[in-house]
Symmetry: C2
Subunit: 335 residues, 2 copies
DNA sequence: ATGAAAGCGCTAACAA
DNA sequence: TTGTTAGCGCTTTCAT
């Protein structure tokens, strides 16, 4: 067992309460005693036992983050930023991956909830009532789910999508395809805001899906894009976009000469693809900071003024978008 | 505060020790009492307070995993597999990202070590003595670091590299470039085993680097590959390989017709690239399982028979490797 | 300014 | 088979 407060007390020739005070509320102890205690603590390599402290205080100084799938390259930067932010405020961040399965998510929450002071639930699969219940029992911040009365950070793609529409319009595109990869996840369909933005810019939009947000979805979608005679594709996310790029190449269509492609998320995939992928970026640091700050606030009993915090997005133009081809690939094929 | 063992005891009309026993060592209590206790516990939604249990038991039922950078797509599957494995044995896995900075790593270890029963340190940046010290104080499993006497899982690229050499040889390649992206990380240079394997197969090998393991390293390396007249590249990892692919395309060289490219790690990048990337795979589940099992063993006082456990690798042939071009790209350029 | 002691929730002696 | 109780390490009254 490690060194305890009692041993420090003995070494410094004071009582345990003095040690506790010297370390936690230094103003309450005489300067020389304080120094003596601190020296002893350093010398012995004392560190408070978090379990004892938690038991006494009823707080763990830890936060939990539940995400659907850490292998989705969208999440690691988020986690990293949250961990950073939490650490700066003296909290440890505990991540858990729910694998997008409701049962696993429940199990994980059960296992983790008692070990943390609050939870960030990202795109939870749980039904609304369950989330409401949970939020009534402990501090909870939802991301990309909406439950009335529960604190939420809402990642809005509106700006990024509008910019994408404008970008494609400026390049002369007229007919686009949106590859929906939302499956049947709650509260997250991107379809509506995309339709609105494209309508507003007078761009033709064909939606296909919903499918699962996988590479193969993009592969599947690519020939449909050509068949529809569209010159641009907006994919559900970067991974799907990569599938589109892959299959367009296999079909002999070049990007962006024949077809322009836009992703969503600005993951590592976007920057390493060839050509590099035009995509819509949500500032991971901003979401992370807001969610963590809100959660720590809740853990300290501070309810935010607004239950919903918005985080914006923007287009990152890269190499997969360009002028619309005069003849669509399909028609050119006929020639 | 949540429901305690005392409340369950009262509800069931028994003492707290009976509740504890009914839940932890059911054989020690009368069947009907046991049932009564369990019912009461369920009804009240009782879950033991982990802080109290930890304090009492001296164990946390948590494990820590320290990795250099979670945004490296190599790690998420590892984490996921470890979390899975740990969960199955009743442990919570706590990941922390050290950002490849020794100071951060130390700080993180300080923050986390008291909250867990043991640590998996992946490619730690700490000096050997520090690791030895730490391992003397608590259960530690090293991955990709070697410190005498400390339990270690060693990921061996030997098999995968040998298969890559054989694969390239069979395709008629004669001159290859290895892009070293190891920087100055301890114990992890891939150079030696690569040289040995290529020598053994009579393949010419030019090493460039060491650089940092980044996309830009691959971009930088691509023209050098052509300048050396090589027809194949083995990159430090998939990310570097992606850089090579990107820049080869920019230089007008096609893959695999002009140059074959092999990565290492078999990350998501490899499967989504165009063409898909031939790479060397280390089974993430195997490393994860071994490391976690070893660590849990140590936490229970079981020293492994062998301090070092080996995990192998194998080549995953995909679309970036093919027959060597008769004329190298550089020479063809002269024509 | 400092010390003594209670008590957070739990498990495991020890008693009965 | 069950109950009583000590004690894990810590913070915080309450005294002094």
């Amino acid at each position: 067992m490690a060194v305890t407060i009692g041993e420090v007390a003995k070494a410094a020739g004071v009582s345990v309460s003095t040690v506790s005070r010297a370390l936690n509320t230094p103003d309450l102890v005489n300067a020389v005693t304080r120094q003596r205690v601190k020296d002893a603590a350093d010398r012995l390599g004392y560190a408070p036992n978090p379990a004892a402290r938690s038991l006494r205080e009823g707080r763990t100084e830890s936060l939990g983050l539940l995400i659907p799938d850490i292998t989705n390259p969208f999440f690691p930067p988020i986690f990293k930023a949250m961990q950073e932010r939490a650490k700066r405020q003296g909290y440890t961040l505990l991540v858990a991956d729910s694998d997008e399965r409701e049962a696993d998510e429940l199990e994980t929450i059960a296992a983790v909830s008692k070990k943390v002071d609050g939870l960030v639930l990202w795109a939870s699969m749980l039904p609304e009532e369950r989330l409401a219940e949970l939020a009534a029992r402990m501090p909870v911040v939802l991301v990309n789910r909406h439950v009335p009365g529960v604190v939420e950070v809402h990642v809005s793609l509106t700006d990024g999508i509008a910019q994408a529409a404008e970008h494609l319009k400026a390049y002369g595109h007229q007919q686009c395809v949106f590859v929906d990869g939302n499956g049947n996840r709650p509260d997250q369909s991107r379809s509506k805001s995309i339709r609105e933005a494209f309508d507003a810019h007078g761009l033709g939009l064909i939606e296909i899906g919903p499918y699962e947000p996988r590479f193969e979805t993009g592969v599947h979608a690519a020939p449909l894009v050509l068949a529809h005679g569209a010159t641009a594709v907006l994919a559900h996310n970067d991974l799907v976009a990569m599938g589109v790029l892959h299959q367009l190449a296999a079909l002999g269509a070049s990007v962006p000469a024949d077809v322009s492609v836009v992703g969503i998320d600005d993951t590592l995939l976007a920057s390493v693809s060839t050509p590099s992928l035009t995509t819509i970026r949500i500032a991971p640091d901003e979401v992370a900071t807001k969610a963590i700050d809100l959660l720590i606030g809740l853990a300290h009993g501070r309810q935010p003024a607004q239950p919903v915090t918005e985080v914006g997005s923007r287009l990152i133009p890269r190499g997969t978008t360009g002028p619309a081809s005069r003849a669509t690939f399909a028609r050119r094929d006929d020639a």
